[in-house]
Subunit: 387 residues, 2 copies
Amino acid sequence: MSRKVAIIGVGNSKFGVRDDALLQEIAFEAVKEALEDAGITQKEIELSVVGSVGTRMYEALPAVPVNEYAGFSGVGPIRVEAACATGSAAVFTAYNAIASGYVDVAIAIGVEKMCEVDTPTSTAVGGRGGNYLWEFHMFGTSFACYYAFYATAHMNKFGTTEEQLAMVAVKNHKYASMNPKAHFQREIKLEDALKSRIICWPLKLYDCCPISDGAAAAILASEDKVKEFRIEDPVWIAGIGYASDTSNIVRRPDYVGLSATVKAANMAYKKAGVEPKDVEVAEVHDCFTIAEIMAYEDLGFCKKGEGGKLIKEGQTYIGGRIPVNVDGGLKAKGHPLGATGVSMIYELTRQLRNEGGKRQVPLKKYIALAHNIGGTGHYGYVTILRR
Amino acid sequence: MSRKVAIIGVGNSKFGVRDDALLQEIAFEAVKEALEDAGITQKEIELSVVGSVGTRMYEALPAVPVNEYAGFSGVGPIRVEAACATGSAAVFTAYNAIASGYVDVAIAIGVEKMCEVDTPTSTAVGGRGGNYLWEFHMFGTSFACYYAFYATAHMNKFGTTEEQLAMVAVKNHKYASMNPKAHFQREIKLEDALKSRIICWPLKLYDCCPISDGAAAAILASEDKVKEFRIEDPVWIAGIGYASDTSNIVRRPDYVGLSATVKAANMAYKKAGVEPKDVEVAEVHDCFTIAEIMAYEDLGFCKKGEGGKLIKEGQTYIGGRIPVNVDGGLKAKGHPLGATGVSMIYELTRQLRNEGGKRQVPLKKYIALAHNIGGTGHYGYVTILRR
């Protein structure tokens, strides 16, 4: 029924503390690269979907200046938000507008500027990632605290260790050090991660992703336009799965995995007609190291409870069974909320085109998976790409 | 190419100052009515799209509690925002997800709670409806001020009068007094409107819509599901047009109409295969009275410059050539930002089913149009329905 939809151009700004640029300027860095990558100009874009959580309340309507500055003043009728999964929601929205036949070419722009001090601060907004009235306001639960619940439950049930959590950080910093667009450009040592200060036990400073500014963009097109633009060997969106979960964490049956990941993954695998073992490279949502370990399991890369073992064995490094976050992940590439999901598509599109350089994952089937979570599994997206 | 999409159920909460209910409770009023109207339960809904501008920063992620409370915890992966056109953006997003074949049944929920005092206030957020950095922050332009630019230009070029502006308010209050869900339940007199205090000349208090709380919901379904649910005589989405415009008002060529309306209308008319003269009942975006007069013209209900004459002749009353805002409009029904566009669909769906009661517009062709603007034409949507 649906029309096929391809990714024909991708762009990614430098992630980090971007005091040098306005929101719209950061977005345009990504847009410009995506347009040049696709070999088209703004006039070919029929729909612009801007993904931004809008953590800076002073710019209450972030899509408007972003579209004006990027040259999409006439075709930017929508902003989407799905907390930290906002970027994936933007891609899904652009995808549907093409698959439905409504437009032929759309751009998904993810952008966030979080490092400026505003009220509430980015950290305070993070606390609202659960349920505001009960869990944040009544109990003062911070965002790290929500994931600490999951980490302690996972350690208790499966014997996952603090060392295994730290190993995720070490891997992701290693790859970020090889990615000039990453927020952090340096490797870290396991012992330093373990000695870093406690944020919310068992999560330490090096278990947490940073607060970053940044943007990413992906241009999507129908099959007809792929031919018209003479795009050779495009990357296709094979399937998108989505889910959401209860606002209140206390309403969930357990704390050792995210049902939003499981549901979104099942939907995406089914739509794409592939299985977990077919995936050759993945971007997963590692806002905290425990999140990456749970994702391994919930996405079916290993059995439930064996995520700690997977990282300990090095299976998620390049050369391992399933390389994960070879761009540095949220943990070390950075996590500008709205940009993250689109940035995953940026990395995977380049991997599928064998443009990964020294971070290139060897591919045979050319199937890649992006996993993007909002809040503590309040939102979940899994997007499967193939060449 | 696209699949046909029907509206099979609609709901609308009471609009007004809703100190009695939380955001999610107001949303559920609309959701419950829509489910009952369609004769289905939550388990049939595959996708929930929540439209909310999120003017209350303390609930930074409004879709999460709204979906939890309404019973859509698993299927609410996305919030959309398009300023005051947010409700239409939600309908468009839900439409595309069905037209693309991704899902068969989706709900668009529009909700806003604006009357609570928060930082920034709703009025301060309104000022950001232009360009924050230049026009709001540098010049202190308020939202009423943006529309006052348009009103003075329209008066100067076409001789539109303050009396004609006030006539729009009189009409919309009349119909609101017949609508139990409207914020204002009383008629007003022309002389009182003209004597009301100046907000930003020529706009007076009675030229401005109020700040309201409220919600609306619309359930959309594919043709297959319409048959499966045995929906008799559904209302079909015949076409949706969208547009956006420059962030900075100063970048626009003139101030006597909104190009976002013209572009969105042309797109919608073309998609639906109808002309302005075919439209028998319309909801237009009357955040200020001048906005309704410009909409008459920009939608093609009269020639450019003759909007003032159209209201003066009473042509937009029931019984006139093109009845407009017979539910009270934003002006008197109220304007809870995210809810407004969905509430337009609520009213028109009921009109097309001849459920308008004493406000029923006599119909022959059964073609209706909703026109929803975000900011000062920063966003524009036109949605055409037919039975």
